[in-house]
Symmetry: D2
Subunit: 402 residues, 4 copies
Amino acid sequence: MNGIRHLFIPGPTNVPEEIRRAMNIPMEDMRAPDFADFVLPILADLKEVLRLTHGRVFVYPTSGTGAWEAAITNTLNTGDRVLMSRFGQFSTLWVDMATRLGLDVEVVDVDWGQGVPVADYAARLEADKKHRIKAVFATHNETATGVTSNIAALRAALDAANHPALLFVDGVSSIGAIEFEMQDWGVDLAVAGSQKGFMLPAGLGILGVSDKALAAHERATMPRCYFSFDDMIRFNDTGYFPYTPATQLLRGLRCSLDMLLDAGMERVWDRHHRLASGVRAAIAEWRGCSLVAQGPQWHSDTVSAIRTPADIDAREVIATAYSKYQTSLGSGLAQLAGRAFRIGHLGSLNPVMLCGALSAAEMALRDAGAAIVPGAGVAAAQEHFRATTAPVQSRPAAARAA
Amino acid sequence: MNGIRHLFIPGPTNVPEEIRRAMNIPMEDMRAPDFADFVLPILADLKEVLRLTHGRVFVYPTSGTGAWEAAITNTLNTGDRVLMSRFGQFSTLWVDMATRLGLDVEVVDVDWGQGVPVADYAARLEADKKHRIKAVFATHNETATGVTSNIAALRAALDAANHPALLFVDGVSSIGAIEFEMQDWGVDLAVAGSQKGFMLPAGLGILGVSDKALAAHERATMPRCYFSFDDMIRFNDTGYFPYTPATQLLRGLRCSLDMLLDAGMERVWDRHHRLASGVRAAIAEWRGCSLVAQGPQWHSDTVSAIRTPADIDAREVIATAYSKYQTSLGSGLAQLAGRAFRIGHLGSLNPVMLCGALSAAEMALRDAGAAIVPGAGVAAAQEHFRATTAPVQSRPAAARAA
Amino acid sequence: MNGIRHLFIPGPTNVPEEIRRAMNIPMEDMRAPDFADFVLPILADLKEVLRLTHGRVFVYPTSGTGAWEAAITNTLNTGDRVLMSRFGQFSTLWVDMATRLGLDVEVVDVDWGQGVPVADYAARLEADKKHRIKAVFATHNETATGVTSNIAALRAALDAANHPALLFVDGVSSIGAIEFEMQDWGVDLAVAGSQKGFMLPAGLGILGVSDKALAAHERATMPRCYFSFDDMIRFNDTGYFPYTPATQLLRGLRCSLDMLLDAGMERVWDRHHRLASGVRAAIAEWRGCSLVAQGPQWHSDTVSAIRTPADIDAREVIATAYSKYQTSLGSGLAQLAGRAFRIGHLGSLNPVMLCGALSAAEMALRDAGAAIVPGAGVAAAQEHFRATTAPVQSRPAAARAA
Amino acid sequence: MNGIRHLFIPGPTNVPEEIRRAMNIPMEDMRAPDFADFVLPILADLKEVLRLTHGRVFVYPTSGTGAWEAAITNTLNTGDRVLMSRFGQFSTLWVDMATRLGLDVEVVDVDWGQGVPVADYAARLEADKKHRIKAVFATHNETATGVTSNIAALRAALDAANHPALLFVDGVSSIGAIEFEMQDWGVDLAVAGSQKGFMLPAGLGILGVSDKALAAHERATMPRCYFSFDDMIRFNDTGYFPYTPATQLLRGLRCSLDMLLDAGMERVWDRHHRLASGVRAAIAEWRGCSLVAQGPQWHSDTVSAIRTPADIDAREVIATAYSKYQTSLGSGLAQLAGRAFRIGHLGSLNPVMLCGALSAAEMALRDAGAAIVPGAGVAAAQEHFRATTAPVQSRPAAARAA
């Protein structure tokens, strides 16, 4: 009766009505003879979203964190040297996991607000003539800072050094939303989750695996069972799973894939760019605020992290938005706690939703004492959206085909 | 994937998630022994929403139009003189119905933008010493113009004239949203529909009937069957219906009544006033635009009809909002076609939703050529909402009671 | 946690998951520019279900009772003589309505257990040389007794007498389930409801109208407004409605029409016959029980009314089925109260559901003291279903089209 | 339109309407300030279902298999000796996992149809004076064979030997359905999944952990990250999770816990026993068929595995039930493939549903050539249900509290 709650965190994202309906189903028999007819096209279509023609894709009942682990334990060995970088909460957690799983992590620390240090990586790879580095890790989109890294450039660096290391990419908050070319970029392990660009509830970890990674898997000896590629491959090849799959989410994933591929990935990426640009146009008008991302080359089209003015506690902005304006904004994590808040702008969104979100942020900022001009950001976003929005094609009437 | 569609017409209104869930049920046996345990409290609680302690309430599977007809055919006789007024599309349609059903309608035409002409009615009632006028009709909230009339004053006029006419009130777009005191105001027949303040889909016509109207019913001879009070009374008294009721909507109505009465009607009315004031604050900033309502005494807290600048076709604004910004605004009806659009602000709404709606209207107005300042209205609404919004109480955690 | 409730009343029927999903939607703007693209195909497809190529179909937010009233008030005049027959609760109620609406009803009373007395009607029509009878009414499927009448034969009788009377048919519990040929049978007004063969919740009254009935409408003068054909025709022609339609049910109806027409009406009718025959095979094994229908020519494929043994109160059977076995059976109405119960077998059903229903009835009958053999009826039904059931085609995998 | 599909596999089980509704929600912010108010009672109530007052419970976004792995990797060390037994597909898979994760598994092979060999275990524990066995594993309910083991007796054996080994119990298909007393039985690690007794979709792995197991965790050094107790404990203590939880399933779990605890675990167990006994009464009438379970002491109240007559391929029975009767039965796994089928009878079920399932099985058995008497099993089940079923208490009317 008090209207909808507004969700503008960078995942879980808003689930479209179509997907909600697709998931609202009775349970089904995951060993039924026609279940494979449902599963196999999902696996094929996931590869299309990842832009992968070779290799495989795995869908685990897990979170993105679980898919990180699946990637590591299936392709690397204890003590393997890996090259990683830290520039936000999620890249930091990945380093932490790699360390705990027994890898020999060579970490490059980068200012929060920048991304994967390609030049630095290039130098290290060049120097690693003995190929002691077995894998290079890159967080494509650091969700904590709103920073997108250049994976194509990283691939170029690997190629320039003629380095055989596997390329691991965390695409949890990028895949399905911004440009991602798994095959063209030579990504070997791409990690995604259901609750971001796929517009589903959390619960599925999605993993793209190149042929090269599958070959590495043959030599990988870490203990693993739940996340084992072997079991998955054996069952997936027939259209089934080694243990009870999350069929409800798979039904939702079917719908998500239809939506993404019917639109076309390029159009999906373009839509995210237009929406994100409108949000950034608004932020630019907020006196005393600035993006955490240190320059346009790092701008993320899925999430913006916004530094509040020095005297404004971002936590108060977030708390007010939540309790007074029924709006969830993302919090500043770790070193950004109290200093930044985040607006998630990925998944199923449109300009009017974002004007609402920006209004919530403006009201909460002013309530917290920020001296921004009311409506200034919304006005800039409106003008941006007016200039860049095409009429949405009317959904075809739900009539019977002739 | 393109986000939600935004619905800001004055009904059907946005259905809260709780009500959607309550309606998503298997069918049930409307003759089951415990069905009465479900029906009887609904009828009692509806009276509480209408502020009626005597009399009865009827729930028909029909629209508000059907409930209009039920009110007339059950309590009046062919040729009865009735006093009505016309000041918008819906009051006009009610006059049309009364005429077609054979009443002798004395119509007072009023400028669109004003409401029930109480002084004029008072004079006519005073003059009607022989009490030839059997009923006085009032459209409480004219949905086409965003005008609310003063029913308490009308009752005072009837009392002053010591006139026995029945008082018919169309409360379709007022009941459940703005102040309505059926018993205190001496309303004899109050018409409501499910799709406005009750936040349900269309499909239920709701009719409050005073004891005086029930007595009139005893003498009323128009042919009627589907809408007959007699059948309804006989079955309702036991908790059942004379024909298959719309149980799905009744389940939704149960949830709606819980929401309204748990909040308390005064708080519901107050919330609508706060939201409507914010919308009006925005409109006041739109250069060249003005409310159709001719003064604050007519302001409706459920819908605002907005005249566009003279050179701007309101139909273009509405069409652009719909196709480009996925936002449904209400159209200008009859003499307002092309000259006004409407924003519905009743039912399940909150400030951030309205900031979105106002943004859609601003963008569409500017696209149509209106020289309004981007964000100006939203800014005024933001400041109004900041000043008048209290934090929403966190929903009690869905934990088990001790 | 105690499993599903089992619904085997003759309407509302079980709503398929597809339709439940189709109805679980946000509200929409019934004046949107593309709403007509949704409405017009529904009206066209409804005619296909009714087997009508000329004429029109109307969809009212009402019940079947309301559609009865719409048929009468739009095409007949006060005092018109009509020929009707009574052989169950619903045919009785229709006579009652016709009388209350001021028609001069010539009633033929028939034993409950038989249907429309075609020979008797034929004689009366033959005798009515002056054509004082303006309309002939027939209850196609009497829901209270499980009796289906022969409408084709009635048409033949009208033709043989060369009689111009309009033919009104109550198809509430037949249309969408058993053979119904509106045009071939020369039906002028066919009444249906959403909650039977259309597998929807109650709330829509559906009315098929022949060209001849539309012509009669031009001369019909009963007061009417809500149910007026004129308003409907004017708006429907453009794809809209004269007042707020029940869009949620229309979305469900769209899905229902897809299901019916994708299967093909003949296959729908055939399926109902196979299921009904299985139920009747079971009943034949229940010692002391018998169908109310007096012979195979009256057997209804949508509902069976079953007389209990003389010393068994059918109300106890129904009450036990409901409270102990979570199963709703239909009650015996009026003169059948306590003497019969009913099993609805129309809509979305299959053999295993019916074996459950028959088990519930067997257990409840034995609990009430009936000396039937446990499982005897189910066994007969099983063997019937084994012989007549073809494997259900696996639903096409929800994969993307190439 | 062809009615519901019937699901009688031993999980995923039928999801009650209440739970489906509880899961049909928009996404929410898992870092919201009031999210902890939702999470903490879930963890507390889960302990109540497990009958655990000390220790902790963990909820992972994973399957039961993942929870198996979490239990092992968090409390044991590579090379630890563990005592396990194999008597069905799932106990076999658990042995396989333990082996792959580097444990030194002492396996006892038992005839499929029996359960945990308590006497054998007792002897080995008695002999293990040096306490080289670090853990004893028991599959409480072997889903593949329909065999329930005696965990209380196993605890007694451990106590008699004064043996300190941890007791691991796979309760995936028992917890929430049949008696399970984690604390009283001294179970140290209890594994459950969402899709069985909890009546939810698959996707949550639930793990009960005793204080003793938590102490063992302090000394356990296997690599782990996703399943790490440490991260979970740190976040759970504040009501949050270390990574994005599956909030949709948690909302369903909230509803499931309410249903289980409102009924009371004893009544839940009793209901499963009554339903299972009815199924076994039916099977006893099927000539040539027999339970896989070798005696009443092994009978499972959640699933029955049924050997088909020697000349009947169980796969054909299952395929026919699926394609012709829209009914999913469980298949015979591994050595039981083709020789047995299974009926799951856990979760949200009632007698009439089971009479349907038994009818499906009877028809499919006869179609496959089995010489069983039609209806014989259903008849026995009916008589059993008649004798043991109490009327279901009518749900309290959904009226407002006074």
